[in-house]
Symmetry: C2
Subunit: 175 residues, 2 copies
DNA sequence: GGAGGGTGTCTAAAAATTAGACAATCAGCC
DNA sequence: GGCTGATTGTCTAATTTTTAGACACCCTCC
């Protein structure tokens, strides 16, 4: 229990934030909440956040969640490895889809089911990509580059910013 | 024109494949089509494919696209860098959402609009992540690792499979 | 047949990585 | 307060990797 780290919840409705706090406090070591999206990046800079729960339906009458999308993009830009789960209105599937295409990990429609919400958050965190060794990451990237150059090693090496011989070395060394 | 490489289209309906061929031939250098999902990986192994267009609604009466999801996952697993765009039935948004969460780049609902289809395919290819230099990729991964270890450099170095001093070196060298 | 581009291999110099050590600092704990 | 363990920043010398440059060879295109 309580092994899921820190969660940051953003919603402009204080009642929802309180409800979320009660729900999440048993699962997360720390629950941060804010009604001010402007605080997101500041909070995330101050301390390590493990997952973000972002309400997409800001301010009554505001332009259909596009503001939420902007915040999502801002989060993704500065912290590409922190998963973001979206809260959207039940009807607004298209917004959720836009969110997913912008890098959100999952979404939950309001009104939500507590059990399902917790389950999805845990799922996302369990799926978190482990950090692999630098060598392994290097090889993955090298394979990508070679693939991208359709097998042309000279071009791949140039693209990677290393010499062709170094590319040979690395391919030989790391299988 | 014709600078968008090779596209692979999978659909169990031959009529759709022919229609697609006519539509895509002006934009792509090569248009491969198949009704056999089993051929996907074989085709992709034989030649470099730049984008895949995958119909999710297989065989009349088959279990709601879950087969399509399996193929999507298989493609993503073997070729994580080749974008996959899905074709789904108009009503089946939930399937499209599942597809996006499984790594699809975008989806198009049937019946489709030719202009929109081409536009989306081009968009996906234009957004294709460029191959960055090995050093840059290295630094991104190092930052990820340090973040993951909440700033503990010793642990990050161990996780990356390098010595602490090397971590210092790389951080100093590459800003 | 020649030109251009790609491959595989080699050398010697330059640079990075390694293991190992050291004192200084910070944390929690008795 | 004082102890202990972990972490940091810095250093050295040996080892390994990377680099630039060169060479012969194999393609393909014209």
């Amino acid at each position: 229990m309580k092994s899921y780290g820190t969660i940051l919840v953003i919603d402009d409705n204080v009642a929802i934030l309180t409800a979320m706090s009660y729900l999440l406090v048993d699962t997360f070591e720390q629950v941060l909440t804010t009604t001010q999206p402007d605080d997101i990046l500041k909070l995330m800079a101050q301390q390590p956040i493990d997952i973000v729960l972002l309400d997409m339906n800001f301010a009554p009458g505001v332009n259909s969640g596009s503001e939420g999308l902007l915040w999502l993009r801002a989060i993704r830009k500065h912290h590409p490895d922190v998963p973001v789960v979206l809260l959207t209105a039940y009807a607004d599937v298209s917004l959720a889809v836009k969110g997913l295409k912008n890098g959100a990990s999952d979404f939950i429609t309001k009104p939500w089911d507590n059990g399902e919400l917790l389950h999805k958050l845990k799922d996302v965190l369990d799926m978190q990509s482990e950090i692999v060794s630098l060598d392994e990451m290097e090889m993955q990237h090298i394979r990508r580059a070679i693939d991208h150059c359709h097998g042309n090693l000279s071009r791949a090496a140039e693209m990677l910013g290393i010499t062709r011989q170094t590319l040979y070395n690395k391919m030989k060394r790391l299988d």
